[in-house]
Amino acid sequence: MSNPIASSDKNDQVVLRCQNVHRYLGEGEGRVHVLRGVSVELNRGQVYAIVGPSGCGKSTLLYLLGLLDQPDDGEIYLAGEAMTKRGDQARTAARNAHLGFVFQFHFLLKEFSALDNVIIPMRKQGTLSNSEMEEKAKGYLEDVGLGDKLGRLATQLSGGEQQRVAIARSLANTPSVILADEPTGNLDMKNSTIVIDLLTRLSRENDQAVLIVTHNHEIAQKCDHILTMQDGLFLS
């Protein structure tokens, strides 16, 4: 079974959908068929967890859904638009408008403060004034409990705090979908719980779809849907 969630093309709750996606990685004899015709759809306000053993294709699928990689076959629809054949420019613009990312390593820009890190995606979008961007970023940082550390450089924050800044940054442009690849992989249990609770709460408040790739079954249990993957396919 490759489509664990009932498909409904006309359902306007669906923000991200992929259909029969195949992806090969590697070259020559080392070439591996990582995704073998995966289909999935994500609805607004829902939190999804993809679980499965290492190498089953979880992260590969997340990068494809995040338009950071191109499938060898199949189609990906973001906000109703087919994205696979779109150029790099269009896919980059779509990422800025619709997608937020949280990775295992926070990837904060260490030369910038927590506030500036959250503002960076907004500056690229260029729809808000400086003061509006600052207000919005402050709001997100307060939401993740860092309202008193706005001016701290990334290097002056703990691992858990840095990951919370990364979550605030993923929310910056009010995306339709947040894609999180092992967001707690580098955190202790306490911080992991904080991060997952934050993601689930904010997604419901903002009516966003959240897709979390994780090895941690306790974290997966907190999500609305658990998608189990094995050998490049979802199990039913």
Binding site: S59, T60, Y63, G66, L68, D69, D88, Q89, T92, A93, R95, N96, A97, L99, F101, F103, Q104, F105, F107, L109, K110, E111, F112, I120, P121, R123, K124, Q125, R169, A172, N173, D181, E182
Partner: protein, 415 residues
């Protein structure tokens, strides 16, 4: 401020030490480039000014006689045709009728003065020793109009020269060789005849070759010494704009049928030598900028390697490939702007300082200090050179940064 510039500035200030090294290279490269040009072109300008002040913008000499050669032939059908060879010229040395040529030259609007000159070799002797000099017979007032002789007098004055029929003006180098000073007597020997003359003035042009050989005398006296009662060796002509001497010379030659040599033509070998010197100085000093460019390349290439994760996350947030490359290019541009500006200041300080150093230059030229030439073109050339080198050095790592695939970087980091 655009987000790309903001990020570039932060990346730049986070790499202060490496960037400071590149910056220093550009500052000194640009500074020494400009100083090198100021110095070499300073001597070139000095030479040109001296040549114009001594030998004038244009020299009219040697009449041209066109010797047409024709050959009459018949075609197959018997119709006649003629081959004309119009490229045969004959040069007749000197100017036989100087007054006629002067009248013709006066019709050119660009001409500001004409001096009739008679030259020849003479042996100049004192009790101490003898040297061969080059005698120039001139009408002093005409010659002042086409030269800077009045200001080149370092001892004596033109009043003595005008008032004494046997007065001569002698070059400073020649005066040193003969060990004569004002009022001393010199015996001039030409064509077996000896005549005694008094040193009425000593001049210095600054060009050693001239100062070691030249002696001025009234034209009438020169005719007697050189035994040339008629004609002139050449006419020295001054122009409103000496820089247009080449074009004016061509125009005059086609009108009066005399060989007309511009100062650029007469001093071609020297001007070529100056050009080569200036070019080689620029090339040598450019290596400093080139090294700074390599430093810049190295710094930015390392930065791209260090920042692959940041580049990937920026790409995932919606920054385009062009944004990424512009972030790195802007860093190069900031270093370039700061380096060029500081380089200009260094150049101004060094050029000014060296021009004020009391340093006696002797040899081909004689000056009391280093001669420098201030020109905006030196600053522009240095800026263009630095811009080309730094932008190439920045473009390569910037392009590499833009080509990074965010998925590959993040996948690599997560494993």
């Amino acid at each position: 401020m655009s987000p790309n510039i903001r990020i570039a500035l932060r990346f730049l200030t986070a790499n202060k030490r490496a960037m400071a090294m590149s910056l220093a290279g550009i500052v000194f490269g640009v500074g020494f480039f400009i100083f090198g040009q100021a110095q070499t072109s300073g001597f070139e300008q000095f030479f040109v000014k001296t040549i114009l002040g001594t030998d004038g913008a244009i020299r009219v000499q040697d009449r041209i006689r066109i010797t047409f050669t024709t050959m009459e032939l018949e075609d197959d059908d018997g119709s006649p045709w003629v081959i004309e060879n119009t490229e045969n010229f004959k040069h007749i040395e000197g100017i036989e009728q100087p007054l006629e040529v002067i009248e013709a030259l006066k019709k050119f609007d660009s001409v500001t003065g004409i001096s009739e000159v008679l030259t020849g070799s003479v042996v100049m002797g004192t009790n101490f020793r003898s040297y061969t000099g080059r005698l120039y017979g001139i009408n002093i007032d005409d010659h002042i109009a086409v030269s800077d002789l009045e200001n080149q007098i370092i001892f004596g004055d033109l009043y003595d020269f005008r008032s004494k029929p046997t007065g001569i003006l002698i070059g400073s180098g020649l005066a040193r060789l003969l060990q004569v000073t004002l009022g001393d007597t010199v015996v001039l020997t030409s064509l077996g005849l000896n005549s005694r003359y008094t040193v009425a003035g000593i001049f210095e042009t600054g060009v050693s070759d001239i100062d070691r050989q030249r002696v001025y005398m009234k034209l009438t006296e020169a005719r007697s010494v050189l035994q040339r009662p008629h004609g002139a060796s050449f006419l020295q002509v001054n122009l409103v704009d000496p820089m247009r001497a080449k074009e004016e010379a061509f125009h005059m030659m086609n009108t009066i049928f005399y060989h007309v040599a511009s100062w650029q033509e007469r001093q071609k070998s020297w001007l070529d030598a100056f050009f080569v010197l200036r070019f080689s100085t620029a090339l040598t000093v450019s290596t400093i900028i080139l090294l700074a460019g390599l430093g810049m390349f190295n710094t930015l290439a390392m930065l791209v390697l260090e920042k692959t994760k940041e580049i990937a996350i920026l790409r995932s947030m919606g920054y385009t490939r062009r944004d990424i490359s512009s972030i790195f290019l802007w860093q190069g541009i900031f270093v370039l702007i700061a380096g060029t500006f500081l380089g200009w200041i260094v150049a101004i300080l060094i050029t000014y300082g060296v021009s004020k150093l009391p340093f006696r230059v002797t040899g081909i030229f004689s000056t009391d200090s280093f001669v420098v030439h201030w020109s905006i073109w030196h600053y522009l050339t240095a800026t263009i050179t630095a811009t080309v080198i730094v932008m190439i050095a920045s473009y390569i790592p910037a392009r590499r940064a833009a080509q990074l695939e965010p998925g590959d970087v993040i996948r690599g980091t997560s494993q």
